[in-house]
């Protein structure tokens, strides 16, 4: 059971890739950028899913894939034009197929409720085309219906080779050395039979008369006509171990059957006549056994159709490998340690007073460079294109548009932009939610759009790009923009802001990020799932990112996410407070400034505020907050970091000094200890000592709780830029 389960896992992994290819191909067809090869690729994807599903007896999946495939075959053979209408139906069929795969993966074999309707639609496409009466595809389909993957194991040799299969003529002539190395052609021919239906003919033309026969010489050759879904590489693999000990030619020929039929017959007859003319002990080969032997062979082969399911991945195996993520993470950990160690070494050498030009220093510089390169390369292993997230969105747009009665088109850009795998995984939900919102709340109904002089079809743009060491993702729509009056009214109704609050446009826009804010008056099926933009914002911040919004009435809104490329390293500002070295995440720091005495004001019994231009922000003594000193630092002696917190509020953190910026490797405190309030994580600095990474939000929140308990969060928000 276990090996089969493992193969099943591989099958579902491949299904994901195949489904992605399928959707990408169909989208290309929809846009009119597809060609014959695109249609072929789409067909192959569905066919492979069906084949694998057949192997695991996933009947619902096979049935649906079969109908889908039939229509695609019509399109492939030109009986159905790849017009937008049928392609749209196919896109929805692809969605259902993906659902069926997901259901099968979850072990739920129930028929999808939408499947029968789409089967009808797909069949209607076929009727619309003139395909129906043709006999040939029907026959081939019957062949497929009967255990699609095991077609080559069917008791009777298949008469109609399936179109997706390749037909290969393999001429195999062993040399003397092949037998000398104890190889047996019979085994090789059996291997070929595993790849697909074989018609094997023996060529005994070189066979001398019995008296002239050298028992160790090789006289026989075989011509095999193989119908297989595999490619040439898979066939060559069969002969891998006899490479050089045989003459081998493999020619792909998608030939008509009649060319092949006489040959095996001739072969068969010839073998028999050969048999008659030979004494058994002189025969160098047990050629006649091939056919009878092959029959019983079929049963075990059919019982393990597993290699077939895994097969489609074989051609790509040269380019990529699947690696357990744990191994990559271990490598990343080790490289992190290497970086730390290298830094420690460099610092020690520097402290030892060696000249910069000494060979040791020069060697260390080179080591540093190498270390950096290794680190970048290792990080690149975890980096993946955002495509895996983006390609889920077209479907979402179709479904949400259908649910809301709007017309929407998704445009994606920068799908190849790479970012850490963990970041990608945690991006899906926020992006999904933002796109839902863009259609549900952003885009207007077709009538309204027409009235406003816009195209009835709204556009949602999803783009990704690298910008100064971060990935920036934008979700924008060309809808009506944020209805600020309404947003403000809702915030007032929900007591999120006082009724008389005076807010700038930007501040109003930012209200939608407040917990408990939802503009939908009723909880709709689409956006209202109990989570709002506050959840999106929190999940982005959990990734060390920021979210911002720009909206123009009548022109649409743009949400911009800015995220770090990896969660393993962080750009930090190294600061000191009460003799302790700390790292403050650079993303939260807006600016640093040296407070002048007249800019620091007292507020309340022990609260301090700092005037930053015209705004007063709370001034927080880090050493005091973390309990490292009991008497406050004179603000004039320290440096203030102006930071922005999650809620968009600002604060100034007072530290003793700044020691520069550095990329640091993030180390968990929880691994061996526990969470510490005010500390996000730890890192190891060049001197080998542990430095703590500040959790700026927690520090600010702790300080605010202590000194400004009455201030509701909205005031911080209102103060934000």
């Amino acid at each position: 059971m276990d090996p089969l389960e493992a193969i099943k896992v591989t099958f579902f992994q491949e299904c994901e890739e195949l489904l992605a290819d399928l959707e990408a191909g169909l989208l290309a067809l929809e846009e009119g950028t597809g060609d014959a090869e695109t249609i072929n690729a789409v067909f192959r994807a569905v066919h492979s899913v069906k084949g694998g599903a057949g192997a695991f007896a996933l009947d619902a999946l096979v049935r649906f894939a079969h109908v889908f495939e039939t229509v695609l075959d019509d399109m492939r053979s030109g009986r159905l034009a790849p017009d937008p209408e049928p392609v749209k139906v196919m896109l929805r069929a692809a969605d259902v197929l993906a659902d069926l795969v997901a259901a099968a993966k979850a072990g739920n074999e129930d028929e999808d409720v939408r499947a029968p309707a789409l089967v009808k639609e797909l069949e209607a496409l076929r009727l619309g085309g003139e395909a129906e009466p043709e006999a040939a595809p029907e026959e081939e389909i019957e062949g497929l219906d009967f255990t699609p993957v095991a077609i080559d194991f069917a008791p009777a040799p298949p008469l109609e080779p399936e179109p997706a299969e390749g037909r290969f003529r393999i001429v195999f002539r062993p040399l003397r050395g092949l037998y000398a190395k104890a190889n047996d052609p019979l085994l090789l021919l059996r291997e070929l039979e595993r790849l697909g239906a074989c018609e094997i003919a023996c060529d005994e033309a070189a066979l001398p008369a019995l008296e002239a026969l050298d028992a160790e010489e090789s006289y026989l050759g075989w011509t095999v006509l193989l119908s297989t879904e595999q490619d040439e590489a898979a066939i060559r693999e069969v002969f891998e171990f006899v490479d050089g000990d045989c003459e081998l030619s493999i020619v792909r020929e998608d030939a008509e059957p009649q060319e092949t039929s006489p040959e095996p017959e001739a072969g068969g007859v010839d073998i028999e006549s050969l048999l008659r003319s030979m004494t058994a002990e002189a025969a160098p080969e047990v050629v006649p056994e091939i056919r009878p032997e092959a029959q019983p062979e079929r049963a075990p082969a059919a019982a393990a159709p597993a290699p077939k399911a895994a097969a489609p991945a074989a051609p790509t195996a040269q380019a990529t490998i699947r690696v357990d993520l744990d191994r990559v993470d271990r490598l990343i950990d080790l490289v992190g340690e290497l970086v730390i160690n290298q830094g420690m070494l460099a610092q020690q050498v520097a402290e030892s007073g060696l000249a910069r030009s000494s060979t040791i220093s020069v060697g260390l510089d080179e080591l540093e460079q190498l270390t950096r390169e290794i680190q970048d390369s290792v990080m690149a292993i975890r980096a993946q294109p955002v495509k895996s997230v983006f390609q889920r969105m077209p479907r979402l747009v179709r479904e949400v548009a259908a649910l809301t009665g709007k017309q929407a088109r998704l445009v994606t850009e920068g799908e190849a932009t790479e970012v850490d795998k963990t970041v990608i995984e945690r991006l899906t939900d926020p992006i999904t939610h933002m796109i839902r919102n863009a259609i549900d709340h952003g885009l207007e109904s077709p009538e309204k759009r027409a009235a406003a002089g816009k195209s009835p079809e709204g556009m949602v743009r999803l783009s990704a790009q690298h910008r100064s060491g971060r990935i920036v993702i934008e979700v924008s729509d060309d809808g009506g923009g944020i209805n600020r009056e309404r947003v403000k009214q809702i915030a007032v109704d929900k007591a999120l802001i006082p009724a008389d609050a005076v807010l700038s446009d930007e501040e109003v826009d930012n209200l939608i990020f407040l917990p408990g804010f939802s503009t939908a008056s009723t909880v709709s099926d689409v956006s209202g799932r109990g989570v709002g933009m506050d959840v999106v914002k929190r999940s982005i911040q959990a990734l060390g990112g920021r979210i911002s919004i720009a909206s123009q009435p009548g022109r649409g809104s743009t949400f911009t996410l800015s995220l770090p490329l990896t969660l393993a390293v962080l750009d930090g500002m190294v600061v000191s407070s009460s003799d302790q070295t700390l790292v403050a995440p650079l993303t939260a720091i807006i600016e640093t400034l040296k407070p002048r005495p007249q800019e620091v004001r007292r507020l309340g019994p022990n609260g301090l505020v700092l005037a930053v231009r015209d705004a007063y922000v709370p001034l927080i003594d880090i050493g005091l907050t973390l309990g490292w000193r009991s008497t406050p630092l004179d603000p004039g002696d320290g440096v203030a970091l102006l930071v922005e917190t999650e809620l968009g509020g600002r604060a100034a953190l007072l530290v003793d000094g700044i020691h520069g910026q550095r990329q640091v490797v993030i180390k968990s405190l929880e691994a061996n200890y526990q969470r510490v309030d005010g500390i996000a994580a730890a890192t190891i600095l060049g001197d080998g000592r542990v430095a703590l990474i500040l959790d700026i939000d927690a520090v600010v929140a702790a300080r605010l709780r202590a000194s400004l308990p009455s201030e509701p969060p909205i005031h911080q928000l209102a103060k934000a830029s």
């Binding site: 950990d333 309990g627 490292w628 405190l669 061996n672 200890y673 510490v676 080998g688 000592r689």
Partner: protein
């Protein structure tokens, strides 16, 4: 509690003994990963006083527990002569700051006596039992009790 630290009665086990002030303690040698000299620790904010902070153990962040402080014997003023015993507790690693490591004892479980009640809660939770060896009294430390949060987790 792992099976390793709790073999059947009468089974031989090895303990590593160490000194804090004038008292002797020991832990199961199987849970000890390494012994290293004192290196300055980075203090953690808002932690119990006996948590000396964290150090870098080949890239891992290791919390250091001042056993003397934990047992109420007074805060240790660490010097380079002090020793850190790196021990594994469940999935975590912890460094125990002690004065000096003495020796390795081979004992059987039946030699472990119950901890006498001295009216001290800390001793009750932190000391699993008492060993009498050659006139020395050695307290067997309950490792699960040394990290603040771990008691609940180990239960």
């Amino acid at each position: 509690m792992s099976d390793m630290s709790n073999p059947g009665l009468g089974e031989r086990r090895e303990l590593i003994s160490f000194r804090i002030g004038a008292q002797e303690f020991c832990v199961d040698v199987m849970s000890v990963r390494e012994i290293r000299g004192w290196t300055a620790a980075t203090p953690l904010p808002k932690s119990p006083a006996y948590i000396r902070g964290v150090i870098n153990l080949r890239g891992a962040v290791l919390p250091i527990v001042d056993l003397s402080g934990l047992l109420g014997l007074g805060q240790t003023e660490p010097s380079p002569r002090h020793v850190i015993i790196v021990a594994r507790i469940g999935m975590r690693m912890v460094g125990l700051l002690v004065d000096a490591v003495s020796d390795i004892l081979t004992v059987t479980d039946d030699l472990v006596q119950a901890t006498p009640d001295v009216g001290c809660e800390t001793v009750k939770t932190a000391v699993k039992g008492i060993l009498a060896i050659d006139g020395r009294m050695i307290s067997l430390i309950e490792l699960e009790s040394v990290l603040p949060e771990l008691e609940a987790e180990a239960a």
